[in-house]
């Protein structure tokens, strides 16, 4: 009985010793370093890379818990050249950085606009620049620009251009004289087929147009498509159309002849 008591005491003592040891080996809490860098830019939304690694943060943002030392920061954005600089964190202090990319000519790009004929009004992002073509816009912030060119009696010319850092984008727009031409396609009208094979015009000034999808008729405002499924047309691929003096349309397809 005495033996058992002794054993129990010993077990308890060993247990306490181990427990004490457990506590004693855990390291003391190290407070994280307090240095920080706050980065802002104009324009904003630049990706922040620190020592080559993307921080998954975009400007404006702060990088915290930095120890003393030099940090290489780079700001990156599509269409812009990279901006790289080094920030020294001293005494775990706070550093504010503001980068104005519009002040760095290397970051900006040029846009040269020419038209035939010259003298079109130039609109950038829907606002009238009051400039006439040909014109070179210098030192634009890189971005996607909506460009509209307007010229009297010509169709508006609309396009999107990406302006990049240290790059001159040049283009020439051929302005379409709307007093001379009208232009219909499947994007700008209700034209019901893309591949056109022939055209004939009847006495009522209706245009009859052969296509690979049937016969299109166009009276100047309404489009209509006749195909084997809704007419007596022998095949959808039309090869030629002719109008006789009775205003009848003779239509050939790759499989036969019919009259409409």
């Amino acid at each position: 009985m005495k033996n058992i008591k002794f054993l129990l005491m010993l077990l308890l003592a060993v247990c306490i010793t181990f427990c004490e040891k457990d506590v004693s080996v855990s390291p003391p809490d190290q407070p994280p370093p307090k240095g920080s860098i706050i980065i802002n830019s104009y324009p904003q939304e630049f990706k922040i890379f620190m020592n080559g690694k993307y921080r998954i943060r975009n400007t404006p943002d702060s990088i915290r818990w930095l120890g003393d030392g030099a940090y290489e920061i780079s700001l990156r954005k599509e269409l812009f050249l990279d901006t790289v600089f080094t920030i020294e964190v001293v005494d775990e202090g706070k550093t504010n950085v503001f980068i104005d990319l519009s002040k760095n000519p290397r970051m900006l790009g040029d846009l040269s606009i020419k038209t035939t004929p010259s003298g079109a009004e130039i609109f950038l992002n829907d606002s009238n620049t009051t400039k006439m073509s040909p014109f070179i816009f210098r030192n634009l912030l890189p971005d996607i620009y909506n460009i509209s060119l307007k010229y009297e009696d010509h169709e508006d010319f609309n396009t999107q251009i990406a302006v990049r850092s240290s790059y001159k984008y040049e283009f020439t727009a051929a302005m379409i004289d709307s007093t001379i031409w009208e232009y219909y396609n499947i994007e700008n009208s209700n034209m019901p087929a893309k591949v056109l094979t022939c055209i004939a015009i009847d006495n009522n000034n209706v245009k009859w147009i052969g296509s690979r999808d049937g016969v299109i008729s166009f009276d100047g405002s309404n489009w209509n498509l006749q195909s084997p499924s809704n007419s007596r047309l022998t095949h959808q691929v039309v090869t030629s159309i002719s109008v006789n003096s009775n205003n009848e349309k003779w239509i050939t397809t790759i499989e036969g002849i019919g009259i409409a």
């Binding site: 219909y184 056109l196 147009i209």
Partner: protein, 77 residues
């Protein structure tokens, strides 16, 4: 260099000739030398012209293989 591929011909009410080709439309008459109406001359994607016709007002219409339908409202010559 190969010549243009000719798809169609049309003779209008003024006895002018219009030739539809893969490059665009060639025009000529007794007073005019041959003129090519193509993208660089007009700004319009006129190529692979498959058909030509004149309407009752004297406008000339062109059908093309993939680029739609063109109406020439006045003669630029």
């Amino acid at each position: 260099m190969p010549g243009p591929i000719i798809n169609c011909i049309y003779i209008d009410s003024n006895n002018s000739k219009w030739i539809g080709t893969n490059l665009g439309v060639f025009f000529f008459n007794e007073f005019s030398n041959k003129i090519l109406l193509d993208e660089s001359a007009t700004g319009l994607p006129i190529k692979d012209v498959t058909g030509i016709s004149e309407d009752v007002y004297g406008n000339i219409w062109f059908s093309t293989r993939e680029n739609g339908l063109f109406k020439l409202k006045q003669r630029p010559f």
